[in-house]
């Protein structure tokens, strides 16, 4: 590295460390939560997951936010995702942490509960309705659910606290509560979903109660010196897909929640948008209708609207109906930095670092949002799948890798049925075998 290169790297805000209250990360690129179905059906981890996380650690990201890690079997989104639901999982997560740490990368486990949003509930769950704040099914797949009792809420709070404890015992660097994208926390937070009449529903304070109780329980369990961040929606956009749905939480409401989260003891806020997943704005980009036609069958037994969706995805004459609905909100927003403006509003309101996710790849844009006070770091998933060494590319002075991510979202749709990887064959000059070969590297240590 020449002197000028050293100077450039030293001056590049992306490559500057980020200090949280209890954690320091070497640069401003976080691997956002994303995963394939690498693990055993019962939620025990496998070497493949270690391989998967190592790819990004090796590629230079400052920290990895794990995949969706259920704190309980009932809260998983689909089988073959490693869980942190009992103490037997601690050695596996320790192994993951050790592997990642070997690349000077931090590992933050995303403690999650799907609530009703179980895309594939698995044989253990499929005869039971999902738990939620409400008994109304979700708007996309028609996933059934029932409103949790107070006792069940308290039980789930306990699951999160136990999950955090296990993460700390496994030597991981922190936890993130997934309170965005329509999962259980969102189902309580969102005015479009939560229809409870008890102390967990109605006012914003009541709707936020569950999340804040979890934060306090974790703090009580792991102490104040363990990194805890919360991924939350700046906007629900609950009516982005179907205009007859309620819009959900506003930015002002989200800002208030973030302040309460900070007061409750969180070390950082991770800003995203969208009250369901996937959502027209999350992840931003394309909606590969061919892929969804091929792979959506996995979801068919899960939701009461899945057959209707599949019918629409399957028949070419019907597809424009869905695409019109899917794109009608999306086309009003940028793909890259889709929630940057909302992140800025939250960053102004809180005193803790703010991460932002949603379409980041271009180094110039990342520098702009960090320097401009939109956020302190960005979390990236798909561009890192496409280019595991994206950070090294940035360090080498490239604003974009040679074969950048196209935000086509083929990886997203494939992930429900196939090994996760980049499925944009254009990036492989049309060579399907080369593309699949790259996907399969995850199985190699």
């Amino acid at each position: 590295m020449t002197a000028s290169e050293v100077t450039r790297v030293e001056n590049d805000i992306i490559l500057q460390p980020l200090r949280f209250r209890n954690l320091q990360v070497k640069n401003r690129i976080f691997r956002s939560s994303i995963s394939g179905r690498w693990d055993n059906y019962d939620g025990s981890g496998t070497q493949t997951r270690i391989n998967w996380e190592a790819k990004f650690a090796r590629g230079g990201v400052g920290a990895i936010i794990s995949s969706f890690v259920p704190v309980h079997l009932e809260g998983r989104i689909m089988p073959n995702y490693a869980m942190i639901a009992d103490d037997r999982s601690i050695p596996f997560w320790r192994e993951v942490g050790d592997k990642v740490h070997g690349f000077d990368c931090k590992f933050i486990v995303q403690l999650s509960h799907s609530g009703r949003q179980r895309d594939v509930p698995g044989v253990e769950n499929f005869l039971k309705k999902g738990l939620s704040s409400t008994s109304r099914k979700d708007s996309f797949h028609g996933l059934l659910c029932r409103a949790m009792s107070i006792a069940e809420i308290r039980q789930v709070v306990r699951y999160f606290a136990d999950g955090a404890r296990r993460a700390r015992e496994a030597g991981l660097d922190g936890v993130e509560l997934h309170a965005a994208h329509g999962y259980l926390f969102t189902q309580f937070l969102s005015s479009a979903i939560n229809d409870r009449r008890d102390e967990y529903g109605g006012s914003l304070e009541n709707r936020a109660r569950f999340l804040l109780e979890v934060i306090r329980a974790i703090r009580k369990e792991v102490g104040a010196d363990f990194h805890l961040q919360v991924k939350t929606n700046a906007l629900d956009y609950n009516n982005a897909l179907y205009p007859w749905e309620k819009p959900g939480n506003s930015l002002d409401e989200s800002v208030r929640v973030c302040k309460w989260v900070e007061e409750a003891g969180a070390d950082a806020i991770h800003v995203s948008v969208g009250s369901i997943f996937p959502h027209p704005l999350v992840p931003p980009g394309g909606f590969p209708i061919d892929e969804i036609n091929w792979w959506y069958g996995v979801v068919l037994p899960s939701g009461v609207r899945a057959y209707l969706n599949y019918t629409i995805f399957h028949f070419k004459l019907l597809r424009p109906i869905f695409l019109h609905l899917w794109n009608r909100t999306k086309k009003l927003h940028p793909i890259e930095g889709v929630s940057a403006e909302q992140s800025k509003a939250i960053k102004r309101a809180v005193g803790i670092p703010v991460l932002n996710t949603g379409g980041y790849q271009n180094a110039q844009l990342i520098r702009e949002v960090i320097r401009g006070g939109y956020c302190d770091a960005v979390a990236i998933a798909r561009p890192l799948i496409a280019n595991n060494d994206l950070v090294q590319s940035i360090a080498a002075g490239k604003d974009l890798p040679d074969r950048p991510c196209s935000f086509c979202n083929r990886c997203l749709i494939n992930s429900i049925a196939n090994p996760l990887g980049c499925y944009d064959v254009r990036r492989y000059d049309g060579n399907q075998d080369a593309m699949i070969g790259e996907v399969m590297t995850v199985f190699q240590e």
């Binding site: 005869l127 039971k128 059934l144 037994p301 939701g303 009461v304």
Partner: protein
């Protein structure tokens, strides 16, 4: 063979393994069940709505020109009311009416025209028959023009002139009813025959209609015919003097149809009441005169409505708005002018006749005459009494029960003791004369009864320019659409009305010449 007891699970248990359902399955089962129920309910509702609409639509065929409306427009005489209990109407549905002459060809070889129904060129139906969508079918009904439209010719080969408002002197209504009853009760009157002929005639019935024809319509018509024959059969039989051409018994069918009287129980003489169809032009000056031949009503509107009942209207089916259109039109409809062919009215002769007319006739027959529109007692007028006697006090009482609590309530009918003095406007077109049409020409009427023709033909529409009336001595074989009138039969007497009979032949000729101009 291995014992079944040593098997872990029996074949039967394997086959009958319970089918389990997840919450999603249960939801979808419920949803599909609800959708199915909803779809079935919607389908049933749509079907019911379609049926209700099909059977309740009431859409008459209207005409922009009032003359066309008079000839073919509806006054509500088509069957109506409820499809389950239809009321009113004297005609079968359109397609059955059209095919009946073919089905019962031997009963009506000359078609409806041979009964004196007037067909105009390029018209589907005869004058006096209206078309209206009711009870799910194109129904037919009579209107005023049936009995009040006549024809005349100036010469045997001359043009047939159709005069609206003129008595239908050519119409054999009684034979029409006979044919209708006979044919609908004929063994050939079957759904299969009817549908085949409808198809042959180019009719395109929907499957639904065809099913209705097979399952309901034909049966209903036969039932109705049996009912009509039961009620009115005696009026069509030999015990009653035939109405013949140009005449109708207005009130006896009325007794049977409107009031359900058993006609067989009435005195035989009461069932003989046929009289000429009247003209219906120039109604305004007739208001408050004693209308009908016996002068039993002095309200034009009530008389109109009563006449409509005779055409098949009922209080349920009557179309007051369209009836009023006709009422307003005939209110001022002028009488027809005497045709110029073969020559103008002789003015000298007519002038002389006018003086005589005013001296001998005007007080009873001219507008403004002291007795015009009044009833002359039978003992004074001396004409045939049957028509007078067929209208009874009891009938008048019953008529006052019609249209109760409505603006149309019948309240003007009364029993009289004679015949009303009619204004003679357009009298040249109202032959034969006297209420029962027993005197063929005006000139004959000025003769004493003994000198009046005792047998003559009715229904021939060739004008008699000399005696004023229609040629009535035409041989039977030359006039198939005629009927012979026998003045010796009950109700057909040509007696009475001796006014002017003592004048000289020249004076009588002059009066007749003058009366051409009325």
């Amino acid at each position: 063979m291995i014992s079944e007891k040593k098997q872990t699970i029996t074949l039967k248990e394997t086959i009958t393994d319970r089918v389990r359902e997840s919450p999603v399955d249960l939801y979808q089962s419920r949803f599909r069940r609800r959708i199915t129920i909803l779809l079935v309910a919607v389908a049933v509702l749509l079907l019911v709505a379609r049926l209700v609409r099909h059977f309740t639509v009431d859409r008459p065929v209207d005409y922009g020109d009032i003359r066309e409306q008079f000839k073919y427009g509806s006054i509500g005489s088509e069957p109506g009311g409820s499809v389950l209990a239809p009321v009113g109407g004297l005609l079968p549905p359109y397609w059955i009416f059209k095919t009946m002459p073919d089905i019962c060809r031997d009963r009506l070889p000359g078609g409806y025209a041979s009964l004196g129904l007037i067909y105009e060129k390029h018209k589907d139906l005869p004058i006096g028959v209206s078309r209206r969508r009711r009870l799910g079918f194109d129904q037919l009904g009579f209107n005023c023009a049936l009995c009040h439209t006549g024809t005349f010719r100036n010469s045997p080969d001359g043009v047939i002139h159709i005069v609206l408002g003129m008595p239908a002197h050519q119409l054999d209504l009684q034979s029409f009813f006979r044919f209708q009853l006979d044919c609908t009760l004929d063994e050939r009157f079957t759904a299969g025959n009817i549908l085949a002929r409808i198809k042959r005639a180019g009719g395109k019935l929907s499957l639904f209609d065809r099913i209705l024809y097979r399952t309901m319509i034909v049966g209903l018509i036969r039932e109705n015919s049996m009912r009509l024959r039961g009620r009115l059969g005696i009026l069509l039989g030999p015990s009653v003097t035939s109405w013949g051409r140009g005449r109708v018994d207005t009130f006896d069918p009325y007794k049977g149809l409107q009031f359900n009287w058993r006609l067989e129980q009435l005195p035989a003489h009461e069932l003989i009441g046929a009289a000429n169809f009247p003209s219906i032009w120039n109604q305004q000056p007739r208001e408050h005169m004693h209308l009908h031949w016996d002068g039993n009503n002095d309200s034009v509107d009530e008389r109109n409505l009563s006449a409509a009942l005779g055409a098949g209207v009922t209080p349920v089916t009557v179309d007051h708005n369209r009836l009023k259109l006709i009422r307003d039109w005939i209110w001022t409809l002028p009488p027809p002018r005497y045709p110029s062919y073969p020559g103008e009215i002789n003015p000298t002769e007519a002038a002389r006749g006018r003086v005589l007319y005013e001296a001998h006739c005007a007080s009873c027959h001219a507008f403004g005459g002291s007795a015009t529109g009044a009833v002359t007692p039978l003992v004074d007028i001396g004409t045939d009494p049957y028509r007078l006697n067929s209208y009874t006090f009891m009938l008048a009482v019953n008529q006052s029960s019609l249209y109760p609590d409505s603006p149309y309530h019948f309240s003007h009918f009364r029993k009289t003791n004679g015949y009303a003095n009619q204004p003679l406007d357009g009298i040249w077109a109202r032959a034969p004369y006297l209420h029962n049409g027993s005197v063929p020409t005006l000139r004959d009427l000025l003769e004493i009864p003994e000198n009046r023709p005792t047998r003559f033909m009715r229904g021939y529409d060739l004008l008699d320019h000399t005696k004023v009336g229609f040629i009535s001595n035409v041989p039977k074989e030359k006039c198939h659409a005629c009927s012979e009138f026998d003045t010796t039969l009950p109700g057909n007497s040509n007696s009475g009305h001796l006014y002017g009979t003592d004048l000289s032949p020249e004076a009588k000729d002059a009066i007749v010449e003058y009366m051409k101009s009325l």
